[in-house]
């Protein structure tokens, strides 16, 4: 049965590929979108780095390579996935070789205009001071969490898994952040002002207890200078839990 199912699936895959080759651009977009996780994985494995959300040149190269793979693929060449992986890998490797950071110094005069811009962009993102500031800020957050006897590892295990619960936690954290009295009490007592929150926000004590660490961590993030993380909180709290794919589209 499973084999039959597989067979049908494969059939649909080849069918779709043929359709795309026939000139169906909408189908192509959809198809690429579906395979984004695969592209990310392949690129990431090839470079042995995580793709950075900003300046993800490798990622766009991967996308291009995947697109190329669709055009060049023939059923006689075996599995499409294997073929696409091969194409992406070779393209990314080519790119890495070309722009290797460890390449011996080249006089800027040798670059043409386009390349010059690229180098500039690279230098810009690799701003040491910025990276250092971020690091220091993150360290400060960790220290403050420590005061509450919370570590990041605790958060991995104890932060609520369910999106709704997390949303609720964020709501509570924001509420506390916006009420100076509550916030002071929290810092002073190193504990959530449980009774007040329950009264004012209509949440159960059980929920409060369970996501205590998450709420405190969120509060501390809101109270810090970590714009990116604050942005995350806003995104989630705004009620729009962005689909990653949509974000990828933005890229």
């Amino acid at each position: 049965m499973a084999r039959l199912f597989n067979f049908l699936k494969k059939d649909s895959l080849t069918n779709r590929l043929e359709k795309i080759k026939g000139g169906d651009s909408k189908e192509r977009e959809k198809f690429i979108e579906e395979y984004i996780p695969f592209i990310i994985k392949t690129v990431s494995n090839t470079t042995n780095r995580y793709i950075e959300s900003e300046n993800s040149e490798e990622y766009s190269i991967g996308l291009e390579a995947f697109n190329e793979a669709i055009d060049k693929y023939e059923a006689s060449r075996g599995s499409f996935i294997a073929f696409a992986e091969l194409v992406i890998k070779s393209r990314v490797t080519d790119y890495l070789r070309k722009t290797s950071k460890y390449m011996v110094a080249i006089p800027i005069s040798q670059y043409d205009e386009e390349q010059e811009q690229q180098v500039e962009a690279q230098l810009k993102t690799e701003d040491f001071t910025e990276a250092f500031a971020l690091k220091a800020e993150m360290k400060a957050l960790e220290d403050r969490l420590k005061a509450f006897d919370i570590t990041f590892a605790d958060l991995v295990h104890e932060a609520p898994k369910h999106a709704d619960t997390r949303l609720n936690g964020i709501r509570i954290a924001k509420y506390i952040a916006s009420h100076a009295g509550l916030k002071d009490e929290l810092y002073r007592k190193k504990a959530l002002p449980g009774s007040k929150i329950v009264k004012e926000l209509d949440v159960t004590l059980k929920m409060l207890k369970r996501s205590r660490k998450f709420i405190i961590a969120t509060l501390l993030i809101l109270d810090s200078n970590l714009d990116l993380l604050k942005n995350y909180i806003d995104e989630v709290e705004g009620g729009v839990v962005h689909g990653v794919q949509r974000m990828c589209d933005k890229d």
Binding site: I40, K41, Y50, L134, R166
Partner: protein, 413 residues
């Protein structure tokens, strides 16, 4: 699934990320990870903590399995059930009495001395030996310690099958033992008496500290109405038993390969004759045998055993003539032993030579062969006899032996 998140901390084995959905996750480390950087990763990059624990669990399971497995195999009970279960008990009485427990591969598992003397003839080396080798070793030990001599050379062997399932061939084991003894024993000759033991008797025999072979003889003697106690039985040497012709001796004796008839003849002249009928029968039998042998046509059909038997008969006859009082009186016999031995040598030789013309010389041949190892003097004599015998086609012998073995049994019965 694709995640987007900010690296918040880098540990030894993994990195911690806070995703844009406010999830805290662990991811595997890759090159160029920097705290505070936003990255995109997929489900495959998530750090699996249970990856290690699964491995550990597998290891633990393997260890546990191995331990259970090895314990099962090492467990003495199971071990004994599989490899070391006693299939047959072979008892050997001379009068050191020894019992050998052997497994289905006819290897000795345990050598149990039944009496004090028995302790002297066994050693640890016996364990693991093939049963025939072990018996040979015991017989040789007994010979070295003078339990067995040329004259007192009766051995009682019994076999008891403990496991009917194994379908062991008792007779085969005995035959094997006899063959081995005939080949390699250090004695000139042995009187082997074979008794089949019964599984049910094992407990009883053990309780009475009697060897199985002796117990069987005792039981049969009792059945025949002979008055004998266990204590007497214990003290008695097999030689004496043979001379006293206890219990069903005669019947069994024929199965044994060697000269029971000699004992029978001894009996004839002793005053304690218990079974005149049987005796007379035997004499008759012997006569007929002699007649047969004297017929030239029969010569080819005769075997070593028969020849041997006859030679011994002759010897016995001579002994009778010279020492009529001797037989049946153990003490006297023992005193006279030395003299007799010397006499016998001459007697034997002269008798044999006389008999050569009349009878098959094979008996002498066998004797000669058996003696060769131990007694150089005899050997020479034996060889002298052999010369005559060698006229016989050698190739026929093994076959003849078999035939005769059978023939003799039937005659005896």
């Amino acid at each position: 699934m694709v995640y987007r998140g900010c690296v918040i901390k880098i540990e030894n084995d993994f990195a911690l990320v806070l995703t844009n959905t406010m999830e805290y996750l662990k991811i595997v480390k890759k090159d160029g990870l920097v705290v505070g950087k936003e990255i995109i990763f997929v489900t495959g990059d998530l750090y699996k903590e249970n990856k290690i624990s699964v491995r550990r669990m597998g290891l633990a399971a393997a260890v546990v399995f191995f331990m259970v497995f090895s314990m099962t195999w090492m467990h003495p009970w199971i071990f004994s059930r599989i490899f070391a279960s006693t299939a047959v008990i072979v008892s050997i009485d001379i009068n050191p009495s020894v019992e050998l427990e052997i497994n289905r591969d006819e290897k000795v598992l345990k050598a149990i001395p039944v009496n004090v003397d028995g302790q002297k003839v066994i050693s640890k080396e016996l364990v693991g030996m093939a049963v025939d080798d072990a018996v040979l070793r015991i017989v040789n030990n007994a010979k070295e310690q003078h339990y067995l001599t040329e004259e007192r050379n009766a051995v009682l062997i019994s076999t008891t099958v403990m496991k009917e399932k194994e379908r062991l061939d008792e007779k085969g084991i005995v035959a094997k033992i006899e063959r081995k003894l005939a080949q390699q024993m250090e004695l000139g000759q042995l009187h082997i008496v074979y008794v089949a033991g019964k599984k049910e008797d094992v407990q009883e025999a053990r309780k009475r500290h009697l060897s199985l072979g002796k117990y069987e003889v005792y039981k049969k003697a009792e059945a025949n109405g002979e008055k004998i106690t266990i204590e007497q039985m214990k003290a008695m040497k097999v030689q004496q038993m043979m001379e006293k012709r206890m219990g069903p001796w005669e019947v069994k004796a024929i199965k044994a390969r060697e000269d029971k008839p000699a004992a029978g003849e001894d009996r004839e002249h002793s005053q304690k004759v218990k079974d005149p009928k049987k005796e007379s029968e035997k004499v008759e039998m012997q006569k007929t045998e002699k007649q047969k042998k004297s017929q030239p046509g029969n010569l080819g059909g005769e075997n070593k055993d028969e020849g041997k038997e006859q030679s011994k008969n002759n010897k016995a006859l001579v002994e009778k003539q010279q020492n009529p009082v001797k037989k049946g009186e153990g003490d006297e016999k023992e005193k006279q032993e030395k003299k007799e031995r010397q006499q016998e040598k001459f007697e034997k030789k002269s008798e044999m030579e006389k008999n050569i013309k009349e009878k098959t010389p094979q008996g002498e041949l066998k004797r000669g062969e058996a003696d060769r190892g131990k007694h150089p003097e005899k050997e020479e004599r034996g060889r002298g006899d052999e010369k005559d015998e060698e006229k016989d086609p050698m190739g026929e012998r093994p076959q003849r032996e078999k035939e005769n073995g059978r023939g003799e049994k039937s005659k005896g019965n």
